[in-house]
């Protein structure tokens, strides 16, 4: 039995070091925990500065004692390897754990414990926490904008149809699989347009006409990003091919187009679509604001899509082009059957990022007076009956956008794995 050396913990005194170490770490965590959850300061008898840094010092000492290499205890080794490799790492570990423990109670009490959701006016919110009543009352506005309440079923119906139709790809029999691309690129957008035009906009078949200015909320976010996404993809593909041809005029027109849109911020493009573009049209020609915005966003994103696809085209080895040509394929045959299927597979992550950026850019349409989710929040926030609940609104919108974007990025990651072909 060797003497206990606290400065150099070694395997000789494994049990003692381990117990002592976990005791100190436990005390330090307990102190912070009680401090933060129960507002109880068990070290209040000490001077205030020591009381504050004591858990940190105890934790550091405890982790130091526990840092024994090749102890033979599986969990201890894993702990040491992952969060306790040296003093610096141990300090960071402790700080992060303390931060998490400190942050949980205020967040939980604000979001859940002290929050109110009952009632339907501001008076219901008495607690010091969040006022989810605000979200509840405004929920329809946040989802559908100023769309008339009794007509909202039309928006829901249109979206249900669109979602159902989008799942066609999963149930088509193997025989018709090769028609799917045609369906998704041509037929589906047309159906979507018809649905939105007749069902959401209305004006025919006895449906009341709802002007686009009344559309809004999350459903507008979906409509704008959906159509922009559909239009920008083929346009971007054409531009990418245009940039890669040897025909000088087509090449430089594409380069100019791409560089122009990539060089300006979206907000100025939207300004252009709202104040400058009408000047360029014949006087009696009226184009709806929403249509102008969708065109502007599509043109803008097409430039980014083009650059992503160009990356994929460039990444293909020359041999693919040569092989296709040697089989006697022309330009279009070569691209449709050999080049594009491979190139598009390569650019899935890049495309997903671009589409994500598109969805995240849609709130910008508020500058031209269209209020989607973020715009509706701005409107609700300034309502005199509901002043002072900006925080709840932003948290709510942030959660919704975060879920949408996170799901998209995870889906693209799975897609990437699915289509990954080793070359």
């Amino acid at each position: 039995m060797s003497t206990l050396n606290l400065l150099n913990p070694s395997k000789d005194n494994l049990q003692t070091n381990l117990y002592l170490g976990s005791f100190f770490v436990g005390i330090s965590l307990l102190d912070v925990f009680l401090n933060s959850f129960l507002k109880l300061n068990i070290t209040s008898f000490l001077p205030s500065i020591i009381s504050i840094i004591l858990p940190f010092l105890l934790g550091m000492f405890g982790l130091h004692l526990m840092r024994i290499e090749f102890s033979g205890i599986k969990n201890l080794d894993r702990l040491n390897k992952n969060i306790n490799t040296n003093n610096f790492n141990a300090a960071l570990t402790l700080l992060i754990i303390f931060l998490i423990i400190k942050a949980i109670p205020p967040v939980i009490s604000w979001m859940i414990l002290d929050a109110n959701i009952s009632g339907d006016s501001k008076d219901a919110c008495t607690g010091s926490g969040a006022c989810w009543t605000y979200i509840k009352v405004w929920f329809k506005r946040f989802m559908y904008g100023m769309y008339p309440n009794e007509q909202i079923w039309r928006v829901n119906l249109a979206f249900i149809f669109l979602v159902v139709l989008a799942f066609v790809g999963f149930i088509t029999p193997q025989k018709y699989r090769n028609l799917l691309t045609l369906y998704y690129v041509v037929i589906y957008p047309i159906i979507a347009f018809i649905l939105i035009y007749y069902l959401i906009s209305g004006g025919e078949f006895g449906l009341e006409w709802v002007e686009t200015g009344a559309w809004g909320g999350l459903s507008l976010t979906f409509i704008v990003s959906f159509f922009s996404l559909i239009f920008c993809f083929p346009l971007g593909m054409a531009l990418a091919l245009g940039r890669r041809t040897e025909l000088p005029i087509i090449k430089y027109v594409s380069v100019g187009f791409i560089e122009f849109w990539r060089g300006v911020p979206l907000i100025t493009v939207l300004f252009m679509s709202s104040v400058m573009f009408p000047m360029f049209l014949p006087e009696d020609f009226f184009m709806d604001k929403l249509v102008r915005v969708i065109i502007a966003i599509s043109l803008f994103e097409a430039a980014y899509v083009a650059e992503v696809i160009r990356g994929g085209l460039q990444a293909l080895p020359r041999g693919q082009y040569d092989a296709a040509k040697s089989l006697g394929m022309g330009y279009w045959k070569m691209h449709i059957f050999v080049i594009l299927p491979q190139a598009l597979k390569l650019v899935i992550p890049g495309m997903a990022n671009t589409f994500l950026a598109l969805v995240k850019d849609t709130p910008l349409i508020f500058v031209v007076g269209l209020a989607e989710l973020a715009g509706m929040l701005q409107m609700a926030k300034t309502n005199p009956k509901w002043l002072g609940y900006a925080m709840e609104g932003y948290v709510f919108a942030a959660i919704i956008f975060w879920i949408i974007c996170y799901a998209m990025s995870k889906y693209s990651y799975n897609l990437e794995l699915k289509y990954k072909t080793d070359r």
């Binding site: 027109v253 990539r262 060089g263 104040v275 000047m279 995240k360 925080m391």
Partner: protein, 381 residues
């Protein structure tokens, strides 16, 4: 065969000319009908609107041209501050994502996932309308480090008052020039005689000593002015003096840098991961120490991967700074494409100038980047 090449090009040209012709014709007709004349003469006219925050002297009696300059400088200010802060955060998070410590790695990953997946506009709104509104009023604000105040009306901190500032700036420039010479000399020495000079220490010494000399002999002096609480009315208080940063700028910089930092972090991570393990091992096996491995082997290769996408992110940040218009920070878009456009009604001229400004900014940076990439590219033999 010739025809097959010429025909599509002619068709493209025809369509482009047609579209532009159609637009120009309509624009001329429309402007004639509305009685607007086209021209950039308005830039010298008196603007007669005020701007909340500007880096240069500006009042309503100045011209629209000067208002444009005010907006441009404000945009550049936000961009530069954002770029500096997002680089610092981004590099830290990027390195943290590769940490052997599980907790640090996961926290960094969640930071990236969290801030990347929320629209920037929402984040700006959050900081401006929700987070900064929760700050205390000027009269209730507590001092940070004795003399700085973070209030609902902005951040107030002591400002420095310089005497003979120009001499000080010249000395800093002289120090930088001297450092460049030292570096060139050290490189020569290393390549010709194999001697190593402690370049970093010498550089730091020059950078500190030369400006210090100006304090002792050049008559340079620095004082400071602290913000003072002034009572305007019974319940209205205001800080005066010192350096004040408006809440618009504050929230814009915070949101932009937190958002862009996630992308910078991903670039940094990709760059460091992109340097093969073999490089590190090879460097160690020829006897370089840890610092030398990092400075001479890892960093030069990692930077080659990191810099191009990171510049792209800086460019994005600059373009995203135009979201300032949403919270009324007087940047180029708000001052020029907003207020000035409202007053003059010169939609085509103003929107085109604004777009051209951003276009010039990003094209010049991307030309510089192309040049830089070509310069640092690995020359294959």
């Amino acid at each position: 065969m010739k025809l097959k090449k010429i025909l599509p090009q002619l068709a493209t040209l025809f369509v482009v000319v047609l579209i532009f012709g159609f637009f120009t014709m309509n624009a001329q007709l429309n402007m004639e009908n509305r009685g607007i004349d086209f021209g950039y003469g308005f830039l010298t006219q008196e603007s007669s609107f005020d701007v909340q925050f500007s880096l240069i002297e500006y009042s309503g009696s100045d011209s629209y041209g000067r208002a444009y300059l005010v907006g441009l400088l404000n945009t550049l200010l936000v961009s530069v501050l954002g770029i500096i802060i997002c680089t610092i955060i981004g590099v830290i998070i990027g390195i943290a994502r590769l940490s052997p410590n599980y907790l640090i790695r996961t926290t960094a990953a969640w930071y990236v996932e969290f801030f990347r997946n929320i629209p920037l506009l929402l984040q700006i709104f959050f900081w401006y309308y929700a987070a900064l509104r929760a700050l205390p009023l000027p009269q209730d604000a507590e001092a940070i480090f004795g003399a700085s105040y973070l209030t609902i009306k902005g951040f107030y901190t002591p400002s420095l008052i310089w005497e003979n500032l120009d001499i000080f700036i010249y000395s800093v420039i002289a120090a930088i020039v001297a450092i460049v010479f030292v570096r060139i000399h050290a490189k020569k020495l290393r390549e010709n005689q194999g001697k190593h000079l402690p370049v970093l220490n010498i550089s730091i010494a020059i950078l500190f000593l030369l400006p210090l000399l100006t304090f002792l002999f050049g008559g340079v002096n620095v004082g400071y002015e602290t913000p003072e609480l002034k009572q305007l009315a019974k319940t209205s208080f205001k800080f005066e003096g010192g350096l004040s940063i408006p809440p618009e700028l504050l929230s814009l910089v915070i949101a932009l840098s937190l958002y862009t930092a996630t992308f910078v972090a991903e670039c940094v991570r990709a760059g460091i991961q992109g340097v093969g393990k073999g490089q590190r091992e090879a460097a160690a096996s020829i006897g370089l120490n840890r610092k030398q491995v990092l400075n001479l082997i890892i960093m030069p290769q990692a930077l080659r991967i990191i810099i191009p996408p990171t510049t792209n992110q800086y460019l994005n940040l600059t373009k995203n700074s135009s979201l300032a218009a949403a919270i009324a920070y007087p940047d180029l878009v708000l001052v020029f494409a907003g207020t000035a456009l409202m007053q003059t009604g010169k939609a085509i001229e103003i929107v085109s100038i604004t777009m051209l400004t951003y276009l010039t900014l990003s094209l010049s940076i991307s030309f510089f980047m192309n040049w830089y990439n070509a310069k640092i590219a690995i020359v294959e033999k």
